[in-house]
Amino acid sequence: MATTTADAGPGSRTAFVRGAIGIVAFVVALEVAVRGGVINTATLPYPVSVLGRSVTLLGEIAFLEAVWATVAAWFVGMTIAGLIGVGLGSLIGLFPRLERLLQGPIELLRPLPAVALAPLLLVLFSRGLLSRSLAVAFAAVWPILFNTIYGMRSVDPVATETARSFGEGRWAVLRRVSLPWTAPFAFTGVRVASAIAIIVTVSVEVLLPDGTGLGGFVVATGSGGGDLATIYAAMVVAGILGVLLDVGLRWIERTVFPWREGLAT
């Protein structure tokens, strides 16, 4: 594709400026539509007041606690998913026989919607952080697991054989050759899983009547009078939180694994 220097890449300044223009244009168009009566205010409050509300929300302790509860459940769930995904993925990569053994159960478990498990988890582990985090972990473990297996499989046999011929044992080869090679693959899995995990976290909060987290905050606001602007504002914050997590993880990926650039995602 012929590119001019002005739009050299996705991270270029033009792209940034255009993206900003896109956001502003979108908000202005919505504002005009609401003020002009095209969209009923019972459907969508003035977008500008929604944005204002999302700023004032950040000053409210109850809301910050909700954000914190969401991030905590997300983090615990991601930690569980990361440990299981990388651990099991490495084992499967090391012992192909294990893969044949686990293939059936994995294929049956994977399509189970984590959020559909919420009622079950509530029954088994009662309300609280653990139930929510386990649902999150269940949804988040798959990309990490599959990326780890993929990474382990793509380890250059010449590299492992070379290490072997230098007299390294099986675990030393794993620790010093296979795992370092697999790490960026696993991290890509973590990044993909993180986006899924934050969505599942809020979903579970909406569905489990805990009243915790951003999801619980929205439900409580909705049932207590239904202030639409506040609900939309919380939604905006949740969306921005998701984008920030993604940007942060991409930055870590680029910084920690610079050689990863150009490999398939």
């Binding site: 993206g19 044949r100 293939q103 399509p111 559909a116 919380a234 993604d246």
Partner: protein, 271 residues
């Protein structure tokens, strides 16, 4: 294919199936034994669950015949497919549009990133207020949640169609809509299908979630109702049906993909 290789392929297929199924059967058997020995009401034996699935969703006995199937499974699937189709249409249309024009893509990219990051269930309350409590808000929420992977994958696929293919198409005189239909969509289709599959699983999840709130029927409704009435056999039955649905729908899509993209596997070249 000669008879011998066909037989050999059949044997490999059989061995694969056995290797696949054996651990599953072993796990279910272990669960059965454990459930019978311990007897927790939360974890009923799989045989009881299977029987409930058979009676409720498949066989139908007496006046309850096919009750769960017609009253819950069919409406669920109807809403899911309505939402999914909407997502496919919108996702492909938007994906082609933004994939073709880098400038357009740059204008909308942050908005799309944001839209994708909004957890769909947060919108459930708003959709119920705005679109009423019938099927419409459920269908629209399923569409909203599952449109993103299709949109992003179509966009990536379209933007990645090689110049060689575009030039070859141009030589054969395809331009405008014809070019999109005969060069760009086929070139982007492997990436698009990856998006279709991810979206299908999201649609299934949202189908269940939307039926948790303000619903009169559906698998999600059955799931929540059975938990609230402490009927855990029913809950596991509904969960099993959701799981099997996920496996079956994914398998169907894989078959469709193999049929439609058979040329791609032979092609070998990167799109």
């Amino acid at each position: 294919m000669t008879v011998n290789t066909a037989v050999a392929a059949g044997r490999v297929g059989l061995r694969r199936t056995v290797e696949w199924a054996l651990p599953v059967v072993a796990l279910v058997a272990a669960w059965e034994a454990l459930a019978r020995a311990r007897g927790s009401i939360f974890l009923p034996p799989p045989s009881e669950v299977l029987q409930r699935v058979w009676e409720g969703y498949l066989a139908g006995s007496g006046d309850e015949g096919h009750a769960l199937f017609t009253q819950h499974l069919i409406p669920s699937l109807g809403r899911m497919f309505a939402g999914y189709w909407l997502a496919v249409v919108l996702g492909v249309a938007g994906g082609v549009l933004f994939g073709l024009s880098r400038t357009a893509r740059e204008y909308v990219q942050p908005l799309l990133d944001f839209g994708r990051a909004v957890p769909p269930p947060m919108l459930l309350g708003i959709f119920l207020i705005v679109f009423g409590v019938e099927d419409l808000p459920k269908i629209l929420l399923i569409a909203f949640g599952s449109v993103w992977p299709i949109l992003f994958n179509t966009m990536d696929g379209v933007a990645g169609v090689s110049q060689v293919k575009l030039d070859a198409g141009a030589i054969h005189g395809s331009r405008g809509f014809d070019r999109i239909r005969r060069v760009i969509i086929p070139g982007a289709s492997p990436s698009m299908f990856a998006g279709f599959r991810i979206s299908l699983s999201i649609a299934l999840i949202l189908m269940v979630i939307t039926e948790f709130v303000a619903a009169k029927n559906g698998l999600g409704y059955t799931l929540l109702r059975s938990t609230r009435s402490f009927d855990y056999v029913e809950m596991w039955a509904a969960l099993s049906v959701v799981a099997v649905l996920g496996v079956v729908l994914n398998a169907v899509l894989v078959v469709v993909e193999r049929r439609l993209l058979a040329w791609h596997a032979r092609d070998g070249a990167r799109v």
